[in-house]
């Protein structure tokens, strides 16, 4: 049996007294790029936080490459890369220092040449010795993505990682991720509002609504939606959400 790089089973999670996720199941295989779509506040970031061990679920299990996030967290985190949000990066450190710390956390002595090449493509190398507080939002976003790729992880988790990137950097990054995925060793889970990524680059797209997975589009379905002249994926998403809101009994009730 092939073990998925990410296996989320029956995860319920939230903050204090507010439950955000309701028994969510998601699996990402190696060589698969999965896009997580959904309205603001639908639970995308919370789900990603559960996947990378930043949020402890009330119930359910998260495992990365067969390693449980609760109980074997450090080993599981060694196999994943998480794109840090620009506002969470340490303002005082330089780009080089951030990459060094991330590499040290993964017990690496040198950085992957492919990742350094991507840094060069993203025009980040010239900013290696600048403090993060001096960088623009887009440049910080690039650093966040690079940090996720340190140590060639088997699972890359990204939350709105393409926001603020210039078109050429965005294209280069999508190409790099697609190459990693096509080589069959890496799985990517990306939460985004950019529907072009879902229709052009991804292998599957999941729609999260009110903390539940409403729909799962395969590559062939996404291809059909890309060529659809009556709204495509956007219209399909809206239809799913309206149907769920009109018939809530069709979905599991909130716990």
């Amino acid at each position: 049996m092939i073990v998925p790089v990410l296996d989320v089973r029956g995860v319920c999670a939230g903050y204090a007294q507010r439950r955000v996720l309701h028994a969510v199941d998601v699996a990402v295989a190696a060589g698969e790029w999965v896009v997580l779509l959904g309205a603001n506040g639908s639970g995308k970031s919370s789900l990603l936080d559960c996947c990378v061990g930043r949020l402890l679920p009330f119930a359910g299990e998260v495992s990365v490459c067969g390693l449980a996030m609760v109980g074997d967290g450090a080993t599981a985190k060694r196999r994943l890369g998480y794109a840090i949000a620009p506002e969470r990066l340490p303002a005082l450190l330089t780009v080089r220092q951030c990459l060094t710390v991330q590499a040290a956390a993964k017990d690496l002595r040198v950085l992957d040449p492919a990742m350094l090449a991507l840094a060069e493509t993203l025009r980040l190398t010239s900013r290696f010795d600048d403090a993060i507080e001096q960088l623009s939002y887009g440049t910080r976003q690039k650093l966040g993505v690079l940090l996720a790729l340190v140590g060639a992880p088997e699972l890359v988790v990204m939350d709105e990682a393409f926001n603020g990137l210039d078109p050429s950097s965005s294209l280069a990054l999508k190409g790099h991720l697609r190459k990693l995925v096509s080589e069959g060793q890496t799985g990517v889970l990306l939460a985004t509002h950019a529907l072009d990524i879902a229709t052009v680059w991804a292998d599957r797209a999941l729609l999260l609504h009110d903390g539940r997975i409403l729909h799962d589009w395969s590559r062939s379905q996404l291809d059909r939606l890309r060529n659809d002249r009556e709204g495509g994926l956007e219209a399909a998403m809206a239809a799913c959400i309206i149907a769920a809101d009109l018939a809530p009994h069709a979905f599991p009730q909130r716990g």
């Binding site: 080993t75 060694r78 840090i84 005082l92 991330q102 956390a105 090449a117």
Partner: protein, 381 residues
């Protein structure tokens, strides 16, 4: 595609230590980068603060018999008090550091839980050592100056601190209680004010946010003080007043720090609006002064009830108000004229705020203790 010519050498050090080392190094280089005039000013402020604290400490030690004698005769109470203070401090330090790490950029990095626990232990231990070291140093100095043996007091502090630290560490490991009243309070405030927009709402905002998040646990502190004061011969009402003075000082300082932290943030986004900086300064500054007035009056009332003389009360109130006005104006000036005023001034204001946050409550509490002593002396006479 050209591969970068900037290879990154990764030292074989724990990632957490490495991040802390880099941060320390960068902070130091930022200090070294200060202009000479600002550096001299910073040194002058630090030297003045040191001299003032040393002089106050010496004065406190030279007339120490009034507080040393009860401590020497009630060592078990001292041990209990030390355990109580250390337990609360360790619990808070552990919770804060762990929460900060959980939302930090390294939260998703493969760092072993023992390394995280080690970091938290080092921080808590260093803070605890400073706290206990300073207390024991003060007691030892007072004992030496007054030629009184104080080893039993120091032993009591250490003996209380060790189980207190262990208890605090253990209790912080339990999941924190969700305080429903805080959520309710925030919700009610929002409901009451609706979507009111204007300077009044803006002025209220920083304080409303801060007050909604205050968790003073006053009941426990007052009860604890009363319990501790019984064997020492201090009447419960005096002990309650002492604790009340501490609470007022802490709340006033917390609100001032909130002003320094939150209002500049508001100023940042308001810079893009047609709202004039002067209007914001007047509105929010007036509210700061109003709140601080209330707290100063409360503090003065408590001190007066304890028997402090009017000159001391006036001196404390004036000093506090001067500090409130200076720090608020500095914070606004720096944020609104970012392009003209060097950012180092903001660093200076932060250092001053940190100093004040320690010095002012200490001064207020010391004044309250002096008042109790005066009262006891008068009673004995």
């Amino acid at each position: 595609m050209a591969v970068t010519s900037s290879p990154i050498d990764v030292p074989s050090v724990d990632a957490l230590r490495l991040a802390q080392r880099f941060e320390r190094r960068n902070r130091l280089s930022a200090c070294r980068g200060l202009e000479p005039a600002h550096r001299i000013l910073l040194l002058a402020v630090a030297a003045t603060a040191f001299i003032v604290v040393a002089a106050a400490g010496y004065r406190f030690c030279t007339s120490a018999s009034w507080w040393l004698d009860p401590l020497r005769t009630h060592a078990p109470v001292v041990a209990l008090a030390a355990a109580w203070v250390v337990r609360s401090r360790v619990e808070r330090v552990r919770r804060v550091i762990e929460q900060r790490f959980a939302s930090s950029w390294l939260a998703a990095a493969p760092i072993l839980s023992c390394a995280i626990a080690g970091m938290v232990q080092r921080r808590a231990a260093s803070e605890l050592l400073i706290m206990i070291g300073m207390s024991c140093g003060l007691i030892a100095a007072a004992g030496a100056i007054n030629a009184v043996p104080v080893w039993n007091v120091i032993a009591a502090v250490v003996a209380g601190a060790i189980p207190g630290a262990l208890l605090g560490w253990w209790s912080a490991a339990r999941p924190p209680r969700v305080r429903a009243e805080n959520h309710v309070r925030i919700a009610r405030r929002q409901a009451d004010r609706g979507t009111t927009i204007g300077l009044g709402a803006l002025g209220r905002w920083a304080f409303a946010e801060r007050i909604a998040r205050l968790r003073p646990r006053m009941e426990a502190r007052v009860f604890g003080a009363v319990l501790f004061s019984m064997p020492m011969g201090i009447p419960p009402l005096t002990a309650v007043l002492l604790l009340l003075s501490l609470a007022v000082a802490v709340i006033a300082t917390t609100l001032l720090i909130a002003q320094l932290a939150i209002v500049p943030r508001a100023a940042d986004w308001l810079r893009t609006t047609p709202l004039a900086a002067r209007t914001l300064t007047i509105s929010s500054g007036a509210r700061t002064c109003a709140w601080q007035c209330v707290y100063t009056v409360a503090m003065a009332a408590v001190l007066a009830a304890l028997g402090t003389d009017a000159r001391t009360i006036l001196a404390i109130a004036t000093g506090w108000f001067a500090w409130v006005a200076a720090s608020t104006l500095t914070a606004f000036a720096v944020r609104h004229r970012k392009d003209r005023v060097r950012i180092e001034i903001f660093a200076l204001a932060t250092v001053l705020a940190a100093l004040a946050s320690i010095a002012v409550p200490l001064a207020l509490v010391a004044a309250a203790i002096v008042a109790v002593v005066q009262w006891k002396r008068a009673e004995a006479a």
